[in-house]
């Protein structure tokens, strides 16, 4: 198997080896690697007041040595847990979030070079040193005014997914939570107030294993590993890796 950029790298490798004299990806960055650590926070309005939770995630990107591939990336993160009244817990997943910090802060992207490329290392470096904070447009209040005139499929959609469990000791009892309608999952008076990203120097958060004792060190298994190929339910399609990515355990 071979990654997309690796495939391109193999095809272009020979020509690059004979010496175009450029650095890795030819984007002229002075730094070969960068890390952005950022705290993902969730606030929920409940009948007993606002409840919140947060978790620090890390995105590292490095320029590769040689022509095979321009970048080597890693992502460490655990789901954000928000304790709610009545012993329920809301989780904001890490599912599909590995490269999203770039999308959270598009305004920090560097200028494109002559070929139209933007250095991903420089972008992550700029984010990591920015101290920036932003409320993500994942709640009705935070969505831009023009969102209402576009079909859903035309909206930029990088908001993390929310789930809860009927029984937190049973992974097959997982349920999706509609961010626009928390009341449907938790009852009257519950509402998602904000999802915030804050760049930080704090260490990556660990410890979700204490909440989810069934969590596997392997990210691949689904929450209901006995599912069939045409079972598209939440427990059949969500995996242990949706709650934890990278070697945070």
């Amino acid at each position: 198997m071979i990654g997309r950029s690796g495939f391109a790298g193999v095809m272009l490798g020979a020509s690059m080896l004979v010496g175009c004299g450029q650095d890795g990806d030819g984007m002229g960055s002075s730094s070969r690697s960068a890390e952005a650590r950022y705290r993902m926070s969730v606030e929920v309005a409940t009948p007993e007041g606002t409840k919140s939770g947060s978790s620090v995630w890390s995105r590292v990107i490095r320029k590769s040595i040689g022509p095979i591939s321009p970048y080597n990336a890693s992502f460490k993160a655990e789901a954000v847990a928000i304790d709610l009244p009545g012993g329920r817990t809301l989780f904001m997943l890490v599912k599909d979030q590995e490269g999203m910090v770039d999308a959270y802060f598009p305004e920090l992207a560097p200028e494109a070079d002559e070929s139209g490329e933007q250095s991903r290392v420089e972008h992550v470096s700029a984010i990591g040193s920015s101290g920036a904070s932003k409320v993500l447009p994942c709640t009705p209040e935070a969505k831009p005014a023009w969102a209402g005139i576009l079909r859903d499929s035309q909206m930029p959609n990088y908001c993390p997914m929310l789930v809860t469990f009927k029984d937190i000791t049973d992974p097959t009892s997982v349920q999706r939570v509609n961010p626009d309608d928390l009341a449907a999952s938790f009852g009257k008076g519950y509402r998602l107030k904000a999802i915030t990203v804050q760049v930080t120097d704090a260490p990556v958060t660990v410890g979700i294993q204490k909440r989810l004792g069934w969590l596997s060190p392997h990210p691949e298994p689904s929450l209901n590993p006995k599912h069939g190929p045409m079972d598209f339910s939440v427990s059949a399609t969500f995996t242990h890796g949706d709650f934890r990515r990278g070697a945070t355990q």
Binding site: I2, G3, R4, G6, N72, D96, S153, P225, M230, T237
Partner: protein
């Protein structure tokens, strides 16, 4: 659509799905805030098979499609699309590039066979793949993982 063209599209489609995906598509098309399994590409449906344990660590990814209703394919025919990952490039180089270059000793080779067995059933695989002993945890590999499709 021409069968070979559809297969070519599916071979690239896996690059835009799940972990390490190359393109972030919007809601209604692909992964962000969406499940992959059950989604359709034309009439091809993405089936729900778990990746073998050790796939992410080895930079391995695969998708299986049900081709029922797709012109040029039999009802119930399944296609597998494999890829490596740009997430953790070094893992992909170590575990997958040898297979891509024809060297049979690769972790991704074992993972590809394990996935194919789950999707197609061992009985319809070529004899070598059917009989190949896989380690319980497919992190270590020994056999070729070159891209191939399997129909049943």
């Amino acid at each position: 659509m021409n069968r070979d063209l559809f297969l070519a599209i599916l071979s690239m489609d896996s690059y835009n799905r799940r972990y390490g995906q190359g393109v972030i598509l919007n809601q209604g098309d692909s992964t962000t805030n969406q499940n992959e399994a059950g989604r359709q590409l034309g009439r091809a449906t993405i089936l729900n098979f778990d990746l073998p344990q050790g796939s992410v660590a080895a930079g391995f990814y695969a998708l299986a499609y049900d081709m029922t209703g797709v012109s040029g394919f039999a009802a119930g025919e399944r296609v597998i699309s494999y890829r490596g990952s740009d997430e953790g490039r070094a893992r992909d180089i170590i575990n997958g590039y040898p297979a891509a270059l024809g060297w049979p000793l690769s972790a991704q080779g074992n993972l590809a066979i394990a996935f194919a067995r789950a999707v197609a059933g061992a009985d319809v695989l070529p004899a070598l793949f059917k009989a190949w002993p896989l380690p319980e945890d497919s992190n270590a590999g020994r056999l070729s993982g070159r891209q191939w499709r399997n129909a049943r």
